[in-house]
């Protein structure tokens, strides 16, 4: 197969000399998936913290459900959001179908359970360590959640990255609710699917490599910020 060689050559060409279209597609991918990641964190982190510190009847079942939702198939999420946002659906009056907003909604639904389930695990371990001290301080549940979320921030960044990775890599949901409309809702993954269906395999693979490079860049950026944060804490000695 010479597709691999072609693809790598093409990919580096695309990265070094990106076309306006490619920049638009990459920009939309990042905007949609980062927005979804932020929203999923706003929903998932408090939920994870609440599940970590509260004991209630049915908690075991709730954890099973949240953990199972981590495996939600993107196509199913896309279909549900399509049915809700379709003009014939209950939220059709919003006119959101085939917009980036619809894509953000779908991806948020997809990754909020991931953020909730993983943060629950991280924060429960932390809470085991802090619980008795917190009870001694007579903190409210809200204060405990805030303290855990802040003290667990380093581990939670990794949780957020896991969510972002899943969002930016999925194609099933954004294809259905976004429609892969050129210059409006076309993102990296739907562009890759399109080029594959056109038989432009080398170009599709090249776009895939660009996507991986972006994911790598985001991860490296976050890792850099984390290391700077850690270094600053020590430097303030």
């Amino acid at each position: 197969m010479q597709d691999f060689g072609d693809a790598f050559g093409l990919a580096f060409g695309l990265v070094l000399n990106p076309s306006a279209d490619l920049i638009e597609i990459v920009g939309l991918s990042l905007r949609v998936s980062l927005s979804a990641c932020l929203l999923a964190c706003l929903i998932g982190l408090p939920l994870g913290a609440l599940l970590a510190i509260t004991r209630f009847p049915g908690r075991g079942a709730a954890l099973v459900v949240v953990n199972a939702l981590m495996g939600l198939p993107p196509v199913v999420v896309g279909l549900l959001v399509y049915l809700a946002l379709s003009r014939a659906g209950p939220l059709g009056f919003l006119g959101l179908l085939y917009t980036p907003t619809a894509m953000i909604v779908a991806q948020t639904i997809l990754i909020a359970p991931i953020v909730a389930a993983l943060s629950r695990q991280v924060l429960e371990t932390l809470h085991d360590e802090y619980a008795e001290q917190f009870r001694s301080l007579c903190l409210t549940r809200w204060q405990i959640m805030q303290a855990l979320l802040w003290d667990g921030r380093m581990a939670l960044i990794t949780v957020a990255l896991a969510g972002f990775g899943r969002a930016v890599a999925e194609v099933g949901a954004v294809m259905i609710v976004g429609g892969n409309i050129d210059h409006l809702t076309r993102v990296m993954t739907t562009a890759i699917a399109l080029e594959t269906s056109k038989g432009e395999l080398a170009l599709a693979l090249a776009l895939g490599l660009v996507l991986m490079i972006i994911a790598l860049g985001v991860n490296a950026l976050v890792q850099g910020l984390r290391m700077r944060g850690a270094a600053q804490e020590v430097a303030h000695a």
């Binding site: 009870r135 804490e233 000695a237």
Partner: protein
């Protein structure tokens, strides 16, 4: 380290309530940790809680603080159940649990949580000699520094009662001296101090009265000036004289 630099707290100057434990039994995992424990502790001064390992001193402290409830019997402060008095007390654990933040942020956290005066933070840190380490991560402190930070955090709560679980275990002499000074000053300001300690010398230096626990019961409770020269129980006598007591 300066003396008495943190603002005098009003609540501590009110009379701290007296502790009463009646027929307390505590079973953990089927084992009676405490049994038929009866105790009445005065409102003033420093009380040392002593006794051999595994005799239930730490659990007694948690009962007094209202963190756990007795299996049977009652623990009250001026007839109020202990679990309703937690917020007027502070407990410093043997291994201080510090937040993953700076030294200063650990104090800020409790001042904010209790809606206390945020400007007291520096005075509190100065009081325990940690002002110059305010921006350091709390988790990077030495054992003695961590204990002092935990003490400063406890004092930030304006407690009527300060409960300390072996605050100087395995610390260097300099740290022990610093911590004992902080404890003495708190007691002088009217804070009731209850201190679990293994260190007979420390109990002699700090305590006004001594409770000696043995096998989950109070073997002896007497004023320090009686306890050390003339212990009433054989186990306390052996303990003071450095013999092994089980």
């Amino acid at each position: 380290m300066r003396d008495m630099t943190f603002p005098a707290n009003k609540s501590a100057q009110q009379t701290a309530p007296a502790l009463r434990m009646r027929d307390v039994r505590l079973s953990l995992g089927g084992r009676h940790v405490l049994d038929s424990l009866n105790l009445c502790i005065d409102t003033h001064g420093v009380t040392a809680l002593m006794g051999p390992n595994g005799t239930g001193k730490t659990q007694a402290l948690r009962l007094m603080h209202g963190l756990i409830r007795p299996t049977a019997g009652t623990v009250t402060w001026n007839d109020t159940p202990a679990e309703a008095k937690t917020s007027t007390q502070a407990l410093v654990f043997q291994k201080p649990v510090l937040l993953r933040r700076s030294v200063a942020a650990n104090i800020d956290f409790v001042l904010k949580a209790r809606r206390g005066d945020r400007s007291r933070r520096d005075a509190l840190l100065d009081h325990v000699g940690l002002l110059d380490k305010a921006r350091q991560p709390a988790r990077a402190l030495s054992g003695g520094e961590a204990q002092r930070l935990a003490l400063a955090r406890a004092l930030a709560l304006d407690p009527q009662v300060l409960l300390l679980d072996e605050p100087t275990a395995s610390l260097d002499p300099g740290s022990v001296l610093a911590i004992e000074r902080i404890i003495t000053q708190a007691a002088h300001q009217g804070v009731k101090v209850i201190l679990v300690t293994h260190d007979v010398g420390q109990a002699r230096r700090l305590a006004d009265d001594v409770v000696f626990l043995h096998r989950g019961r109070v073997a002896e409770h007497s004023p320090a000036h009686q306890f050390f020269p003339r212990p009433q129980s054989a186990v306390a006598r052996d303990f003071i004289n450095g013999r092994i007591v089980v």
